[in-house]
Every structure is written in C-alpha cells, then in structure tokens.
C-alpha cells in the first residue's frame, strides 16, 4: 500500500512554521493562531487516517505487523554506506504519530487562549510548528542519522521555546542549560551512531533490528574492554536518550525548563520530546535485547528505576507546581525506561515493551492534561507556587474536575488509563526482577501521594484570599482539558497488546489480579496520606517533614545536583582546565601572531622615511641602476 502522503504530516507544520516565521509581523495574531491550529488539525487527521489504514486495512501479514519504508538516498559515504531520508511506518511510529498530533493539536488550541495578548504570539505559533515538524520527523525516521538530525531539531525548538520570554534572565539561563546538557548527552549518541555505522556498515533500522541480521548475530565479533563494541555503542546511544528523557544524572535541565510558557511544558517537556529517549530505546529494542544478552538493556532498566525513585522523592518536596509536575514526568519516564529494561522479546515475554509504549501513550495524555490544568490555574492566580493557591475548586470547576481525573489516572486508579499501563509495567517488572518491582511499587505510592498533595494544595486546602477573584479559563483552554480528560479516562481500553509489541505479532494480555490489587492499595494509601495531610490546612505535613530532618532538606534542594554540577563545571573545569587553556591561547598563540604584526608596523614606521613619494626620485634611481648595470656589462664585455 502507498504511504507517500505520510510525508505531509511533518511537512504541513514546517509550512506553518515558515509562513508564520517569515511573515511574522505582517500576520494578525488571531489569524496566526488559526493557521497553526489548522495546520495541526490536518496533520492530526492524516495521522489518524494512517493509523486506521495501517492497523485495520493493511493489517498483519503472516501474523506480523510489517515495517513499511519509503526512502531516497540522501548522502553516499561509500558504495555500501549511505544515509537515506524517508518515512518508516511500524506500530510504534504510528503510535507516536497519534500521541504527537493529539497533544500538539490540543496545545495549539490551548495556546490560543493562554498566550492571548502576548507580544510574540505569532512567533510562539511559529516555534510550535517547528517543533511539531521536528517531532514528526523524528518519529518517522528510517535510520539513525535521520533520527539524529531531527533529534537535534527538537532540541533547538525546545531551546527556542524555553527561552521564549527572552527578556527574563532565568528563562535564558534555563534554555541554555537545557540545550547544553542535552547536547552533551547527544555527543554520546553521535559516537554511538558512528560506532554502529563503522561495525555494521548500515544505519537503517530495518537492517539493524532484524533478529536474524548480521548486526545482531555477529555482535561478538569485536570487543572492547570486555564488552562487545556494539554494546558500547548501545550504551552511548542510551546516554543520548537519557539526556533527552531527563534520566539521572542528566536530569538537571528538565525542572529549569519549566521557565517556558506552560503549553510548551505540556507539549515538549511532558508529552512528546522527553519521551524521545524512550522511543529511541524502543526503536532499537531488538538490538538492545539480543546483543550481549541484553547487557545494555539492564543498564536501561536500572537507570530508569533509579531515576523514577529519585525524581518521585524530590517531587514530594517541591513547592512550585510546575516543578512537581516536571519531576513527576521524570519519574514516569523512568518507569517507561525500566519497563523497556525488563522486557523480553517474543510473545508474552514482551509485555514490558508493550507496557512501556502503553504507558508512554497514556502518560502523554494525562501529563499533558496535568500541565494544561496547571497552566489554567497559573493563568488564574498568576503564580506558580502552592502557597498562593488553595480552595480553587469553587472558582474553576472544569479545571478542578479534569485535573482530578488526570491525578487519578497517574496514580493508577481503576479504571482510568494509568491503571492499565502501570499495571502492565509492574507485571513485567515482577516477572523479571523483584528489586525493580519493589522500586516500581514504591514509586507508584509516592506518585499517588505527591499528585494528591498537589491536587489538594491547589483546589482544597486553605482558603486563600485572592485580590482578584480567580475565574474559569476561556473555552479555548477548557476544551483541550476536556478532550484530554476523556482520552485519559478511556485510552486504557485500547488493546495495546494486540497492536504494539516487540515482535509485532501481538499477544493476549490479561490482568494480573493480585498485582493489580497490590498496586491499587499502594495508590490508595498514597492518596489517603495526601488527604490527611493536605485536605485541610494543618501542620501535620511540616511536622512529618521535620521528622525526616536532613533527608527532607536534601530532597527539597533536589539532592544538591545543580550545585554539584556547578561545582564540577565552574570550580573544577572552568578554573583548572578552561581558564589555563584560555590563558595559553590568549597569551602565547594570540601573542605570537600579534607580536609579529606589531613588529612589522614598528619596522615599517622606521623605514618609511626612505620613501620620498616623488615618482621622479624612483625613476631616477631606476635609470641610474640601469645605467650602472649597462656600464658593468659593457666593461665585462670589452675585456
């Protein structure tokens, strides 16, 4: 079947970006909003059409969903090694198309209300277009290099949108931090790509991921420091993915990225761009699984598990609502990573892979909803801090209910979407590794607790006196909330195990009742604790925080990771490495060159007196010289 039209899905947002970017000042804000929404609507319709065609019309061939590729050669390195550009369609790319187009469309609609009256309204929509283009391109990439190109493009659009309020110092700093940290991680990704290209002779996902292909069968051919070179490559690629997905210890940019406008946080830093790392590991999953018996995959699992625990603990102590959500995102991303890490390959063993993709899908919906809800709250009270909020349920009924749905979904309450995906993850972890399962179930409890701390803190709790009575947001903002809330409620019933699995053939998923009960109980314990602590204003929470003492203080300072990074970069790298090198460059290298230049000037000043500037003097010298030479010749000749 023909999938050529898929190329339009990324190209339409690109056209929107170019249109809005070039005619920035000439387009009225109202119109630019419609252009952005219109473009994304078209892309979204195409994405749904593609999904329908792929899953239900094209369907399985020999019981397996096929990988369909259309590509053209872009750059030839050697006769065998070339970089292609094209689109690749398989279950996970289709799923990501749906996620990106839904969330992006909702954020576009939401931004029309949220950004109203902002000076850079058109610029904002232009950047959103650029981001959507890059993200669609990333999802549809056919090979490692193409994904790398779009990987950097999403990084740039993230940078532009975090630094959207470029007159604010903190936003500029946050944008730079996000860009540099992810760029640093991408260095690992690039080296990994080059190693893969060198040792396997191809960048194509199709060839690399073929379980009977030479890349996977011959992994043991070359080894380096006790591990296969391909394992090293996969670890390096995972570093790139960890940077984008804010895994420990490259997570430091994500909380700061909340300086951007809230719709941006919802789109980029909750639902789409940050899952690119998860998507990357899933994209290369057969390689991760088969090479060196999944050594790299184990690293993925432990990093994911640790990150999810680490972030959940910090999330409890934060007072900025967007930061709580940022750490929650990091924690859930860790969840997805650990699910991938404990996954097997074929049939029911691949439940982790399926669960990870499932959770990616449901999480994108309810986390975008949480962020958009938080944006709606911030829009109403003009503050990010919990201390300025409380009792908002009376003023903002729609936001209240949708936020509650999202919080219940992320806490894993039956039968909302989060329950199903989280349950599958816990099943996968339980079957594979009890330690990771323990971490997972503990994090599930923490998640429920900090989410409801947030919910009660915003909508219940103390009755804050507001200078201006907050009011419900306009319909352009509440409409996306309602849509996303509906998806968060019902997306748990999508038969993911039939559609998106590691070996593409699908399996019969069934609920593991005991594990589900345990998870639900843990979730409810979290919710009840939060209820006791935060439903009414009381000092229970401060008392308990005190009993944790030092640990609480550490957690509220994010375990001092920003400070550690600052110390390492500023005190050690800048002062001891960069500064001496800069000094060497300035004093010795530049000094030599400047010295030569200066000496030339000095000498030329001294000797320029010899030049009279009169053309006749020069002519006289010349003729005199000719005469002398002539005389000498004549003298020599005659003798």
């Amino acid at each position: 079947m023909n999938f050529t039209y898929i190329i339009l899905i990324p190209l339409i947002p690109l056209a929107v970006f170019l249109l809005l970017g070039i005619f920035n000042q000439k387009i009225k804000p109202a119109i630019s909003g419609y252009i952005g929404v219109g473009g994304l609507t078209t892309s979204a319709i195409l994405s749904f059409y593609t999904a329908y065609q792929y899953f239900f019309v094209h369907g399985k061939v020999d019981g397996v969903y096929q990988t369909l590729v259309q590509k053209t050669t872009w750059m030839n390195f050697t006769d065998t090694l070339a970089i292609d550009m094209g689109v690749l369609v398989d279950p996970i790319s289709i799923m990501m198309l749906i996620v990106v187009s839904i969330v992006s469309l909702m954020v576009h609609i939401y931004s029309r209300g949220y950004m109203k009256g902002d000076e850079g309204y058109t610029r904002f929509f232009a950047f959103l277009g650029l981001f959507s283009f890059s993200m669609f391109g990333l999802v549809l990439a056919t090979n490692l290099f193409q994904i790398y190109i779009f990987w950097e493009l999403v990084g740039v659009s993230s940078y532009l949108l975090i630094g959207y309020y470029y007159t604010k110092n903190s936003a500029v700093a946050a944008a730079k931090k996000a860009f540099i940290v992810t760029r640093f991680a991408d260095l690992g990704f690039l080296i990994g790509i080059l190693i893969v290209g060198y040792y396997t002779g191809t960048f194509d996902f199709e060839t690399l991921n073929n379980p009977e292909g030479s890349a996977i069968l011959n992994w043991a051919a070359t080894s380096f420091m006790g591990l296969s070179v391909l394992t090293w490559a996969l670890i390096l690629i995972f570093i790139g993915g960890a940077g984008k997905s804010a895994m420990f210890p490259l997570h430091i940019w994500l909380p700061d990225a909340m300086e951007g406008p809230t719709p941006v946080s919802a789109l980029i830093h909750a639902a789409t761009m940050v899952v690119a790392g998860v998507y990357l590991v899933a994209r290369l999953f057969p390689m991760y699984y088969f090479i060196e018996d999944g050594f790299a995959l184990n690293i993925v699992a432990y990093v994911g598990a640790f990150s999810s625990l680490f972030a959940a603990i910090i999330a409890i102590t934060q007072t900025d609502i967007k930061r709580v959500l940022a750490f929650s995102t990091m924690s859930q991303l860790g969840y997805m990573m650990l699910a991938l890490g404990v996954s097997g390959y074929d049939g029911h063993n691949g439940v982790g892979y399926m669960a990870s993709m499932f959770h990616l899908f449901t999480h994108a919906m309810f986390k975008a909803l949480l962020f958009l809800g938080a944006g709606s709250v911030i829009h109403a009270v003009h503050s990010n801090y919990l201390k300025d909020m409380g009792g908002l349920r009376k003023y903002m009924p729609i936001t209240n209910i949708t936020f509650l749905i999202a919080a219940l979904a992320i806490s894993g309450v039956f039968p909302l979407s989060g329950f199903w995906s989280k349950d599958e993850i816990l099943v996968a972890a339980f079957e594979h590794n009890k330690l990771i399962y323990g971490v997972g179930i503990f994090v599930a409890g923490l998640t429920a607790f900090y989410m409801f701390r947030l919910y009660f803190g915003i909508f219940w709790g103390k009755n804050t006196k507001y200078e201006h009575a907050p009011h419900e947001s306009p319909i352009s903002m509440t409409f996306p909330l309602v849509v996303l809330a509906l998806i968060s409620v019902f997306s748990g019933f999508i038969p993911f195990s039939e559609l998106v699995t590691a070996d593409r053939s699908g399996f019969e998923a069934h609920l593991n009742i005991p594990l589900a009960i345990v998870a639900t109980i843990v979730g409810f314990v979290g919710i009840i604790l939060a209820y006791v602590f935060y439903k009414k204003e009381n000092d229970l929470s401060t008392k308990y925080a005190k009993s944790f003492g030092l640990f609480y203080k550490w957690a509220s300072h994010k375990f001092y990771f920003d400070e550690i990074y600052m110390f390492v970069t500023k005190k050690i790298l800048f002062n001891n490495v960069a500064a001496p090198i800069a000094k060497f460059d300035k004093k010795i290298v530049d000094g030599t060159m400047e010295g030569i230049g200066n000496k030339t000037v000095v000498i030329s000043k001294k000797i320029k007196g010899m030049q009279s500037g009169k053309v006749q003097d020069y002519a006289f010298a010349f003729i005199a010289g000719v005469v002398i030479v002539a005389l000498v010749f004549i003298y020599l000749w005659t003798n």
Partner: protein, 105 residues
C-alpha cells in the same frame, strides 16, 4: 631601405629622442609634462621597431604592426593618466609632482 640614410643615423635620432624623454621625465615638475616625456620615450621605441624591421627583414611586417599596437596602448595609457591627473587636480588643486607626496601613506 631608405636611400642616402644609413641605419646608424636613424638610430642616433631615436636615441636622442629617447634620452630627451628620460631627461624630461626626471626633471619636469609638472605631471602633464612628465606624461609628454613618456610619449617621447614610447615614440622613440616605435621608430626603432619600424626601422629595424625595415633594415633587417624588409619583406615581413611584424615590427610595423607591433608599432601600431604600441601606439594604441599608448593612447589608452594616456587617457588613463590624464583621468588620474584630473582627479588629482580636483583633490589638491595642483598638478605639481611635489604636491602628490601626500599619497605616500
């Protein structure tokens, strides 16, 4: 071959012409006069071309053609030089050689 005149006499005339040009080039104070002196030098060489062609290889015309070529180049060169001098005059209101020293730096 010109009857009654040997090549030595003609070459003597052109040498006088040439050194008159050189002398004028070195001693004149005025840029226009210097230009005229250069014309003298060029003309001396043109005559030399013609004469030597005539006396050594009477049946070919290369020297003559070359002299026409030199005349064309000289005309172009003069036009250029006069343009420069006019511009200079606009700048410093003088065509004296000593006033052009400021172009040294």
């Amino acid at each position: 071959m010109i009857a009654g005149i040997s090549i030595y006499e003609i070459l003597t005339v052109t040498s006088i012409l040439f050194f008159t040009g050189v002398y004028g080039f070195l001693t004149r104070k005025n840029l226009i006069s210097i230009l005229m002196s250069i014309e003298l030098i060029l003309n001396a060489s043109v005559i030399n071309f013609v004469v030597i062609n005539k006396y050594l290889y009477p049946d070919i015309l290369q020297g003559v053609i070359f002299s026409v070529f030199i005349i064309a180049v000289a005309a172009a060169e003069t036009a250029l030089a006069v343009a420069i001098i006019i511009n200079l005059y606009r700048q410093i209101s003088s065509v004296e050689v000593k006033d052009t020293e400021i172009m040294k730096y």
